[in-house]
């Protein structure tokens, strides 16, 4: 290969000129616009100041001139070798207890659980003989109880684990009996719960009712022995002295990140026989298209760029996605009005939002503001939806959907017999 660097003056000019109509496309064509090597007219490599740096907290662009410079990188590398094992914190003879009942959705610690455990650690820090106990109902996955894993890194000193089939479903009365038994045994200083729908929230309220405690629900800050909670309609905060039972919102405290803990299993208390008046008859298979738009976790949304509606519906069915639509698709009568996503339709909160043939009007982008991951399938690389999307594929939606349907079917083939139920979060 020749070592002579060939210049394409026109291309370079377009790349330099952000106002050029082809600028965006050229950046994309050059591959990952951010890291493109751009040569100036003299052949020197140019740094494009628009493509480096990051946006600072006040919205102003920052360019780190050190650029992760030598000393810092070296320091980081030296530190890493030490990191592999964090210092182990041991509490041999606990005198007081803080009980945390994590959600453990799907048997894993959620980030919310970690925040609550972090809060528990902060409370426990006041007394070196105070231990954080995790009270866990149901099965755990991935050896969470292992001392070098999950619970240990999240800050759990002791573990009370009620496991087995009896504890996997919805059994609030039995859980309450267990919590009361633990309460009698340990007389903990505090009970901390993640304030989550039907899990932590329900448990906290049941326990508080039986203990005749006034719980602090929707708490988001504990400071100086006082707790601040979000009150009704999110319009007020209530601050009060810290009670025994506290249900905490996500991000109430920083999770533990600098120590390891023992996670010693404790003996389970004797439980009285409980008459279960609420029987769990199991999860109900829900057709994704019956899920309310605002609640759906996975939305496949159609816009003006869809021409084969049969295929779109099939894609939604195969993917198990809830269908959505842009205003135009609804106006044109292809989709019912309640499917409309956007400021004038439904504000959605999906974890993954796939926009097929939607260019991204302002109202639509407003409506998907709360979505975590956005995937755009569009023919126009310059449209606003592509700018918003975390992954964009440019091309004919019909071909791409067809390929996607095929691949999902292939993926499902071996697992078909397992039944198509989605995991319940």
């Amino acid at each position: 290969m020749s070592s002579i660097i060939r210049k394409d003056p026109r291309k370079n000019w377009i790349l330099r000129n952000r106002l050029h109509p082809l600028h965006q496309q050229m950046l994309v064509a050059e591959g990952a616009g951010n890291n493109a090597v751009v040569r100036g007219p003299s052949g020197l490599i140019r740094k494009n100041p628009h493509n480096i740096g990051f946006i600072g907290p006040n919205g102003i662009k920052r360019i780190d001139r050190l650029g992760g410079s030598g000393t810092v990188v070296a320091a980081g590398q030296r530190g890493e070798a030490v990191d592999t094992r964090l210092p182990l914190v041991q509490i041999s003879n606990p005198e007081s207890w803080i009980v945390v009942v994590p959600d453990l959705a799907g048997g894993r610690l959620t980030s919310h659980d970690r925040d609550v455990l972090g809060q528990a650690r902060q409370l426990a820090a006041a007394n070196p003989a105070c231990a954080v106990v995790a009270l866990v109902f149901g099965d755990l996955s991935e050896n969470l109880a292992d001392d070098s894993n999950g619970l240990a890194l999240a800050g759990v000193d002791r573990l009370l684990h009620f496991s087995g089939d009896d504890w996997n479903g919805y059994c609030p009365e039995q859980e309450l009996a267990a919590m009361l038994a633990v309460h009698r045994q340990l007389l903990p200083q505090h009970w901390l719960f993640p304030d989550t729908h039907l899990s932590g929230n329900d448990r906290a309220l049941r326990l508080a009712t039986r203990l005749e405690e006034r719980p602090a629900m929707h708490a988001w800050q504990i400071r100086d022995g006082r707790v601040t909670c979000r009150a009704g309609s999110e319009r007020n905060d209530v601050t009060r002295s810290l009670p025994k039972v506290v249900a905490l919102l996500a991000e109430c405290a920083m999770p533990v990140d600098d120590s390891r803990h023992e996670v010693l299993p404790m003996a389970l208390p004797e439980l009285p026989g409980v008459l279960a008046r609420i029987q769990d008859a199991g999860a109900v298979a829900v057709d994704p298209n019956q899920i309310a738009m605002a609640e759906a976790g996975f939305i496949l949304s159609a816009g003006n760029g869809i021409h084969d509606w049969e295929q779109f519906h099939e894609a939604a069915r195969v993917l198990g996605a809830t269908e959505g639509a842009s205003r135009v698709a609804v106006d044109d009568g292809f989709m019912p009005r309640f499917r409309q996503v956007g400021a004038t339709g439904t504000w959605v909160t999906a974890r993954v939002y796939v926009a097929v043939g939607i260019s991204g009007a302002v109202q639509h982008l407003q409506g998907i503001g709360a979505c975590e991951k956005v995937i755009a399938i569009n023919t126009d690389a310059g449209c606003d939806m592509v700018k918003r999307a975390d992954l964009s594929v440019i091309g004919d939606s019909q071909e791409i959907l067809a390929a996607l349907i095929e691949q999902v079917k292939a993926l499902r083939q071996p697992a078909a017999s397992e039944g198509g139920r989605h995991h319940v979060a």
Partner: protein
Amino acid sequence: MSLDKSLKVRVLVSVGQHPKSGRERRADQDSRALELALGMPGFSVGLLHAGSESPALREYLGMGVKAIDVLKQPSSADVVPALVQALRNDSPDLVLCGTRAETGEASGMTPYRVANALGWPLVPAVVSISRGSDGTYEVLQALPRGQRRLLKVRTPFVATVDPAAAEARQSAFGPAQRGQLQAVAVASVADPAANDLEFSPARKRPKRIAAARKATTAAERFKAATVKSASKGGQVLVKETAAEKASAILNLLVAEGVIAVDSPS
């Protein structure tokens, strides 16, 4: 429960507030509870409110109920004893209410304490109730992301209605004006613990910033705390084949866990 008897459902309703203006209105979840009650065949629906006699209560009447029993209570009172007493006198088969109030502390304790005092089971986050085959009631409970769980409960029980339950019907002005707010005399019990509560306008919660664990320089801490990872625009696939593009999408869907694959869990 026998089918002959007309079953009684009591809906506990409160005065809500609009989240933006703070103006009094029917509470959203309580009105969904009433909607659920009105949609249950074979039940006679009655409304119960403990607290002040606010004109906002008329919005419940506008949904097509003739009257509300109002247990007049001062704002400093603990309303649960009054509610329990009224419910004991009335002995309904089913008590419905919202999950969380829109005003005050809004801890969501009221239904739990009422159920506890009556000795009835409490079923939270309900979206529908129907009569089962064997004398039990089949209750659909709302799980996050539109999922549902089926529970079986015998009456009497207390149920809180989830915000995912069917939206309340419109409140019409005419019936709202004609309906009755019937005052029922009950003693009130003061709530001493309320004195500890200190209300203030909701503060914006601090945004969590990612702290660099081993930051040694200020520049690094600053960068770790402020860099926005996702907002700088995502990956764009242009030249790949349709199959490659599709598999890129599929990989993301699987990574996000929205497509069920037989992964070990």
